[in-house]
Symmetry: C2
Subunit: 557 residues, 2 copies
């Protein structure tokens, strides 16, 4: 994969071409007195939900109506939303003032580039557009070969009307996006077989429409049956699953939900969201979309720079080609000053038009022909134009690649990871609950803590030396030489999600695993390499238990 790092401040023309200037909006209503702004759909949604929950005497018709509104909420136009808000008498939640009609609010932060004040720019609402506008160079750097992918990690900015839900809807966030460019006629993926046997929770369109549950499905079967559109999209779904599981997301609270037809952009082939369940419900954390050739075509159209790929045929192909050749001596003689426009019009004929003219010239000797640029009909004689077909050998073709886009919301993934990693367990005395983050050693920000068992100069020195060795081995570690009881120090490190604790005592060194609380005695000189192997997942804790003496540590906390 090629990695790029494009600027956040993006000129108007790029986001005009991508459609964001015109369409990246949410519908907003304003408190007519205070000016406070709300998202129109949020207010209507809250109204429906609240009434469905609280008004137990509601008629069945009314109940069905509110349920229907909730179901079609995302499809309502500004007018329809406004009509519903009026009909239900919804007012500003904070002041009970009347609300304005809904109107579109563009979610891009706007700014001016340069000192003249004439060049409008926006903070990018996604990182993808930077890759699309650089397609030509990226394709070249990849040796003009397809498929290839470019990736970008960086800040994206959306001027949300109502930021909410903690880290889930914020105005500035880290996006990690991959744009994988493929030949639209061949979306197979050579590594798909590596993920085909994964069984994951798929929630296809049909199950959603029929109010059914997500189904554990073998990825290979989903692609074979056409539930997932193609192998490449399937491959990225599989890799996304593995990525999230490796981070520590609970696979039972991870599902892949297909977009309903009305959710999907008109140009998209297929879209799936990786949704993770947390206390806010099922949250979209990764979007996986086959966006067809839409983006590259949009930028080609605006910039007039062709963002295309070239395919070389394995064998040259014979292609029939239409040749229209005006006989300029004749046309010049007849049409004088208009001759050039007549010739251009002849050359611009489509194949059916040209073949029809050829036939009629052969049978009738002349035809009447409309020249739009002259705004009149002229008469074309047999000797004014030669129309024929030749066969040419063609060695390849140009086309606009399709793009398959996995887009990761890093903040949302990290938030869900916190929730899925958090648990509590009783303290040693059973009097209080201790908090633990079960961060995998791969993601834990601190890999181990080093403790002297008791405060003693000699233990402190050995602990400091050990901590230096661990740092040198590339393991981030924390040393705790406070006089606090060892149990409390274990509880502290558990709360930070540190997977391993190394304790220095009179007899040597022990290593404790956070979740099992099991301890092994390890020769001091082997501690750095053992921890490195455990953190790089070259060795499991279970294997470590078989190699070293287990000490009675489970009752320490």
């Amino acid at each position: 994969m090629l990695e790029v790092d494009c600027p956040c401040v993006t000129p108007h023309v790029v986001l005009k071409a991508s459609g964001h200037v015109d369409k990246f909006t949410d519908l907003m209503v304003k408190d007519e007195k205070s000016g406070q702004c709300y998202r129109a759909d949020h207010l209507l949604k809250e109204y429906c939900k609240e009434n469905l929950e609280k008004d137990l005497l509601m008629s069945t018709e009314k109940r069905d109506e509110l349920k229907h509104v909730l179901a079609v909420l995302d499809e309502l136009s500004a007018e329809e939303l406004g009509a519903k808000i009026k009909q239900y008498g919804i007012v500003a939640p904070d002041t009970k003032n009347p609300l304005s009609d809904p109107y579109p609010f563009n979610l891009m932060f706007s700014t001016l580039i340069g000192p003249t004040g004439l060049l409008q720019g926006y903070l990018r609402p996604e990182t993808a557009q930077g890759i699309f506008v650089n397609f030509k160079d990226l394709y070249y750097y990849n040796g003009t070969k397809l498929p290839f992918a470019a990736a970008q990690i960086g800040q994206a900015f959306r001027n949300e009307i109502a930021p909410r839900q903690g880290l889930l809807r914020v105005r500035e966030f880290t996006l990690a996006e991959i744009e994988h460019f493929v030949n639209p006629d061949d979306k197979s993926h050579p590594k798909f077989k590596d993920v085909a046997d994964l069984k994951l929770l798929l929630f296809p369109r049909e199950e959603q429409m029929n109010m059914k549950d997500p189904v554990p499905t073998r990825l290979g079967d989903a692609v074979a049956k056409g539930v997932i559109n193609n192998e490449t999209l399937g491959y990225f779904i599989g890799r996304t699953y593995l990525f999230l599981i490796t981070l520590g997301i609970d696979k039972l609270r991870l599902r892949f939900r297909q977009h309903l037809l009305n959710e999907m952009a008109h140009y998209a082939c297929d879209c799936w969201d990786a949704e993770i369940e947390c206390s806010y419900g099922w949250i979209e954390c990764v979007g996986l979309a086959d966006r067809s050739a839409y983006d590259l075509k949009a930028h080609t159209e605006k910039s007039k720079i062709e963002l295309i790929a070239r395919e070389k045929f394995t064998e040259p192909k014979e292609v029939e080609k239409l040749v229209i050749m005006p006989i300029k001596k004749e046309t010049g003689r007849f049409f004088k000053g208009d001759a050039r426009k007549v010739e251009e019009a002849l050359e611009a004929m489509s194949e059916p038009e040209a073949m029809e003219m050829k036939e009629r010239l052969e049978s009738e000797g002349q035809v009447s022909f409309k020249v739009c640029t002259l705004n009149k009909d002229v008469t074309i004689n047999k000797n004014m134009v030669s129309i024929s077909k030749t066969v040419e050998k063609v060695t390849g073709r140009s086309f606009t690649p399709s793009v398959i886009e996995p887009s990761f919301g890093i903040g949302r993934i990290i938030y869900c990871l916190y929730e899925h990693s958090f648990y509590t367990r009783p303290s040693k005395t059973g009097e209080e609950q201790c908090s633990v983050f079960r961060f995998s050693p791969v993601v834990a920000p601190i890999k181990c803590t080093v403790f002297p068992l008791v405060q003693k100069k000699e233990f402190d020195a050995r602990a400091t030396e050990l901590s230096k060795q661990l740092t040198r081995a590339g393991l981030s570690c924390k040393i705790d030489t406070t006089g606090t009881s060892i149990g409390k120090r274990y509880a502290r490190t558990d709360e930070l999600g540190v997977p391993f604790a190394v304790t220095v005592d009179a007899e040597g060194v022990t290593v404790r695993e956070r979740d099992s609380k099991e301890q092994i005695r390890v020769p001091a000189e082997e501690v750095p390499s053992l921890l490195k192997d455990l953190c790089d997942q070259q060795l499991s804790w279970e294997e470590a238990l078989t190699r070293y003496e287990i000490v009675g540590g489970t009752n320490t906390v």
Copy 2:
């Protein structure tokens, strides 16, 4: 070090407090007809330089004048700059139109936060302010202990009037900043001894003023002599030197230049720039400043939230304290309704004032005393006030920490690294020059290339397997199975700065080092661990040469 990741979009109030809203400006002039903008100092500088170079008949006085203008350029006010531009008849370079008077242009990109249009924000012009406003939490996370540092890597934005010099002056760039908070009374650093023996090119203020050259100086001596203000600043200068050298910056083209007094902000104690020489001249790539307590005090003042640290004395200190106690029975009786104001004025006396009153009351029995809030003098009798000194035990004190800030311009460092790493050497035939980047294995984006010596199915398979193993060992590698000659493939990989090339042939595997072009024969199964050690700098190439058979490879290219 604590790492933070603060938003790019920053509310007005933060940058008002820091001084950026009022002072982060460049002086600009406008073409009065076309509206094109220029930096006033750039135009004046170009005028002076051009005339000094080209006008060989210029009088000595005029020559001295222009030299003087260049020397004081950074200190000129808008009025002075404007006067010089008028005096020299400088016009817009592109159109020769007259120019406006210089006026300040704020370099921050401005935007509006949220949907109301009422909350002004700016894109951060540096990352440091995010750390300052979070000082309270960071200090808490560090266990309320000093010194500690917080670091941030991220985008900064400056709406330059005239971006120029390729990657050197751009409107959006990556900054990496460290804010190291210290007790202003103790700027020693425990690890300074680790860098004290480094000898580096220092360019102190005095050498610059006297038109002398930078001097190779032992860091320990520079701190001891007070050339560098304190150990902590010296420590970061040393670490910056080591960092840049490790990346591959040429130490002969790296100097540390002290700011002249007029360059430095009024609050700063001492500032040094790491400057790297490249084709654009000596470029400031890292700024190292002792900013004293300025930033925390500015935010404290604006936010009314105290950004302070507390120092606990090792032993309680005895502190003499002045006690002024009005005898309210007496003052009430004498001054009636004015009594409270008299009492407050007595309590507000400074120590010298109070001690003088005490003396005079003892000698004369009464004194005349001006009460400002009453706007008159009153007579104070001996029995109206008790003035004394007591001794109190104090266990600690609160203070605003100083901050020492190393600030790295990542784009500039990378640009200079490209220049310092680039060289050419003749091709095998001597007919052309081959380009090479001598990137150290630590920074080279691709660590090795894998080639089959000739195109053969068996070689290809072994090369592919080897490349997989290298990837698994965490080494980014590139496989080249094209039929191009091995010499050309080596040249390609040299041009990309790949330090090692692994060639698979009939007899086994060879590893080639890029710059020496030396080759060794290595058993296939040892290749991943050997390359890992070489890239982690656990093993030098010279050591590798002693362990494996050297093959005649220097004449391959």
